[in-house]
Amino acid sequence: MIMSSKARLQAARALVSPASSPPGPVLPFGDDRIDGLLPGGGLPLARWHEAGGEGLDVETAVSAAAFVAAVITPLARKGAVVWVMRRDDLHAPGLFGLGFPTRSLVQVKVRDETQALAVLEDALGCAGIVAAVGEIDTVDLTAGRRFQLACERHGALGFAIHRRPFGGQTRRSVSGSSSATRWTIAPEPSEPESGEFGLGAPRWRVSLDRCRGGRSGAWIMEKTDEPYPLRVVADLADRQLAPPQSLRLVG
């Protein structure tokens, strides 16, 4: 069979390119500065993602939890969300204050990591569940692969919030991960509107550390209401400015 060198090159590219799989449905942030970096123009559904924090947040994971709750709020209006945790200190009025519809939230308390992973996988593979969030220490490669398969079954979004048990050991380092994106969330001082006292809307320093098929970046984001739950306040210009096409060729 005779093929032109161009066609052969295209076929070879299709084999190695991670963008060969058609982009599925996504959850957009509503701001090109983020959506432009993500493949498909938003957080891909039917994939699982990671979020973590630094400093005190490693144990409390409160900024990451708030960020994740804000991100999945549009999904939660459409279906049930399962939130798996070992410490049941998630306070529903706080979620409600972030605009999260708590009536569609199922909270599950588990005893250990293994159970948390099993419940997450079970929930992700279930019809009618739009997203599942797990507060876990580490997700190893096998567990990540199983998450991925469970997410693909019904197109649910998975989120692993890294949270170390109180007084626990330092997190075991995991070399690789099958997650679609990895985020680090840190709190950021709020700016109340001029003439107002007290605290402003919550802000976070959000950094997209790793993004499969996209690029990384960092922003300061603020909680708003409409039409999207988060608003980019400032672009922290410390990301790589390489064009997406060349990255794909390398990767």
Binding site: T60, V82, K109, C126, G128
Partner: protein, 506 residues
């Protein structure tokens, strides 16, 4: 409780339908002959019960069988069977449910019917008792009835007074006074001893000082007297109507392997679900019971968040629990009961699988699985609860329970993480009633950059009278982390107010 208990008593002959049907008297020609039941007591065969004809010929309960046979050669005898009597009394009890939903058995020969609020359906207590007697007489069961305010009085009047008695609530003492002391449901030996002292009637016993009775005969006598007179409540154990949703599998050979148990769980669930399906019902609760050869019954109960009848799904919920079953020498019978049975219309399967998923397909099975694995308390939905105390503003409900509506007050921000126990902090607050300028929590110093508050929450004094007033502040430190602090107590109070960290905002 108004005129409440009716006792039906049945006379000397074992009165019960089991005997009426399976009477060992033989053919028709024997019907007029005297009849007695025989029981063996410490090696001697004695009369256990006699019918009216036999009693008329001078036979009595407790007489030696040989003496009775010598006196009345034509006497027909049969062996007493207490188990059959009990079964027949239970059957009669179930039948009595037509008169009152609350029927209790008082072995060996008595039934209590709680007729509070049902006698008007028959046009009064008398008409009700007449109907009961007539229906039982038509079945060949002689009974005596009494209506009284207490079970004890009804028992006494049914056993020891003549004819049908209806005792008005204020006439209980007057009715009981002439009755013999045995009418108090005492042990035979105790009753005989009391009678020997001359206290032959209840009236005389009631006139005796209580402390003396207690000292001589124990507290039981006074208790029985008080129960009969209504001074002390008496709890009756009512026989529940049988659950019609019951399936049973019996095995020719006892089973014990885990595979067999799993197969049995699947089969028996399928049988039950086929019944539920045929009648258009679904159940929320299933209880699987394995009966061992040695008589031990081991149960597994599971619950569904929505009524269901999908055999495969329900069986899968049982299977993880099968390892708790100890088969011992083997299991011979398995039973399955379904509770909280509700009408469940058949659902139409959707052709467009991608469209919205009904909770019966997705969420409900998941929640049932999680509850089965982790326990009912580990899976919940947090709903608003009207309390201003932060830790009580949330109630945990089953995830598929009806949503009560409403939410929390958005004008009073609440933290995303609320600690079950507030953590003590060392706070620097220069001016009383101002938020702290810095505080130390978990070994790290935080400088407060912005603060909001105070929001004063008074303690729920009816719960913990010694709780102190709390002034809550929302503060943000210089890194932007947001905390929920409170000061318990007011400045100037003793002990000095203390600062706590109660939660974290995202």
């Amino acid at each position: 409780m108004e005129g409440a208990a009716a006792a039906t008593h049945t006379g000397g002959v074992a009165p019960i339908p089991g005997f009426a049907g399976t009477s060992p008297r033989g053919g028709r020609e024997n019907e007029k002959r005297p009849f007695a039941l025989i029981a063996t007591e410490s090696g001697v065969r004695r009369l256990f019960a006699v019918d009216e004809a036999a009693a008329g010929l001078g036979l009595f309960v407790g007489q030696k069988a040989t003496d009775a046979a010598a006196l009345v050669p034509e006497l027909v005898i049969a062996d007493a069977d207490p188990a059959a009597d009990q079964a027949a009394l239970e059957a009669l009890c179930d039948w009595c449910a037509r008169f009152s939903p609350a029927v209790a058995i008082a072995p060996p020969d008595c039934l209590f019917l709680d007729i509070t609020g049902v006698d008007h359906l028959w046009g009064g207590e008398g008409a009700m008792a007449d109907d009961l007697v007539a229906r039982l007489a038509a079945n060949g069961i002689p009974v005596r009835t009494a209506v009284a305010s207490t079970p004890g009085a009804a028992w006494a009047l049914a056993h020891f007074s003549q004819g049908e008695v209806i005792a008005a609530p204020d006439a209980t003492m007057a009715r009981l006074a002439p009755l013999p002391i045995q009418a108090l449901r005492l042990e035979a030996a105790t009753a005989a001893q009391i009678a020997r002292l001359g206290l032959v009637t209840i009236g005389r016993l009631a006139g005796t000082p209580r402390d003396q009775i207690t000292r001589r005969f124990g507290a039981g006598v006074v208790l029985r007297l008080d129960q009969a007179l209504g001074r002390v409540e008496e709890a009756l154990v009512f026989r529940r109507p049988r659950n019609p949703w019951f399936t049973r599998l019996a095995f020719a050979e006892p089973i014990s392997t885990p595979d067999d148990l799993a197969r049995i769980a699947t089969d028996i669930t399928a049988a039950m679900c086929a019944r539920l399906d045929a009648e258009g019902r679904g159940a929320r609760r299933f209880e699987l019971c394995f009966h061992r050869l040695d008589g031990l019954a081991q149960r597994i109960a599971i619950g569904l968040s929505l009524p269901g009848r999908e055999a495969a799904r329900i069986a899968r919920l049982f299977i993880p629990h099968l390892e708790t079953i100890d088969p011992g020498f083997g299991i011979e019978v398995a039973t399955l009961t379904a509770d909280e049975v509700e009408t469940l219309a058949p659902r139409q399967q959707r052709l467009d699988a991608a469209a919205e998923v009904a909770p019966e397909d997705g969420l409900a099975p998941l929640i049932d699985r999680l509850i089965g694995r982790l326990g009912a308390k580990a899976v919940w939905r947090a709903d608003p609860w009207p309390s201003h105390t932060p830790e009580r503003a949330v109630i945990r409900r089953p995830p598929l329970a009806a949503f009560p509506g409403g939410g929390w007050d958005l004008a009073r921000p609440r933290p995303l993480r609320l600690f079950r126990r507030p953590e003590p902090i060392e706070a620097m607050a220069p001016i009383p009633d101002d938020p702290p300028v810095s505080f130390r929590w978990r070994g790290a110093q935080h400088r407060v950059r912005r603060a909001e508050g105070p929001e004063r929450l008074a303690p729920e004094w009816w719960r913990s009278p010694r709780a102190r007033v709390r002034d809550y502040y929302r503060v943000e430190d210089d890194t932007g982390a947001r905390f929920w602090l409170f000061r318990a107590g007011l400045y100037g109070e003793t002990p000095a107010p203390k600062w706590w960290l109660h939660g974290l905002f995202g």
